[in-house]
């Protein structure tokens, strides 16, 4: 167990009930996710609720999460966007674009589909041509694992 584990490994650890993994994921993604949620919610309290609910949803469904890319941020942003009660004016990614600039092209494409176009994470993954992968028992980092997707093929 390490704070340096990649997001896929952390998801697998959460699926096994490891709450330190959830804490690590929170530390890693909460700040950009909060910025992202700020554009999706009408009030600060609503933004906070979106962020918290996204992490709790991740914890609750960790066993079923299959990442398309190495980062959980698109999944978390998709969760926030899916829970947002209504459309808000302006670019919904405006506060998080600086964070996304440091992510992969695939991550950015996923975020655009999920947050801007209103797709679910699975829909975005399918539209972008990612193929579901069989979940592994152990975490693997690197390019070979990059295309991990959804167990249900959604």
């Amino acid at each position: 167990m390490s704070g340096q584990d990649d997001d896929r490994t952390l998801v697998e650890r959460m699926a096994r009930g490891d709450r330190t993994a959830l804490a690590t994921v929170f530390d890693r993604h909460a700040a950009p996710l909060t910025r992202g949620a700020w554009a999706l919610a009408p009030t600060p309290d609503a933004a906070r609720a979106l962020v918290e609910d996204a992490f709790v949803s991740l914890w609750d469904h960790a066993a079923d999460v299959r990442l398309v890319t190495l980062s959980l941020l698109p999944w978390l942003l998709a969760a926030c966007a899916g829970s947002a009660s209504r459309a808000v004016p302006g670019d919904p990614l405006r506060y998080v674009r600086a964070d996304l600039a440091a992510t992969s092209e695939d991550d950015r494409a996923l975020c655009e589909r999920c947050v801007v176009d209103g797709r679910s994470y699975a829909e975005a993954a399918r539209e972008l041509g990612y193929v579901p992968s069989v979940p592994t028992g152990t975490a693997r980092s690197g390019r070979a694992s990059r295309k991990a997707v959804t167990r249900d093929g959604l």
Partner: protein, 268 residues
Amino acid sequence: MDSEPPQGDDLRRLLVTMKQDVLARATPRRGPRRRRSGIAIGVVTALLLGAAGGSVALGLIPGQEDRASAPAATATTEPMPTRSPDGAPVVDSPSPTPTPTPTPTATRPPYASDDPRTWTISGTEVGPVALGGAVTEETDDLTAAFADDSNCPNPNVSWWTADGRTPIIVLGQNGVVTGIAVGDFSADQPGPTTAEGLGVGSTLAELRAAYPDLTPVTGADGQVASGTPAWTIVRQGHHITFSMRPDTTVTGSVWVSDEAQEPYEFCG
């Protein structure tokens, strides 16, 4: 919304409180129950944690805006909204009846598995160790910061120590964590604290100021123990009990459990 996202200290404070909420809402997963085989090694460590009825520790919990995570209709890989429509907070109704907890104001460092000073004591957990979780899985998370002291002959108790750190004692029954103690009444050392920053070394006056619902723990005779009096609060349906060092008003141990009374001995 019109306002810009928080930055700097404002963001940091927000993240701290959100993290506490998220971890409080992340219910432990119940693994298969296993009784620890527990080979007693070494000498029996008869540790007296309190006198005249036992020690009690009070604990507290983040206790703010506890929201229930609504169950998802189906388990899919999709990000799923979990908030109930009205986002209504769920308030546990333990005994004694808790009163609203003051909003934590202290800024805590980010959680680190190898630094117990960053761990939060809540009604459901101490850092990575959660009530109701499998002992082996929960205590496994302590190894980044502590070593298991195998001298305790009680197979249901594991005693975790490290130089310069407040020890952690985990009590289990049928392989499930039923109690977590922070501190063993020895000298103050850095360790986990509540969201309000209180723990081993905190004075009774500090506890009273932070927790209006602080309640004395009484023995069978209805009296507070004279040697190591203890006070408790209830958070998320569980007790957090602060036990004083003998004949002092300084916390020597913090106990998280369904039982308000911390065991008089763990290994005896």
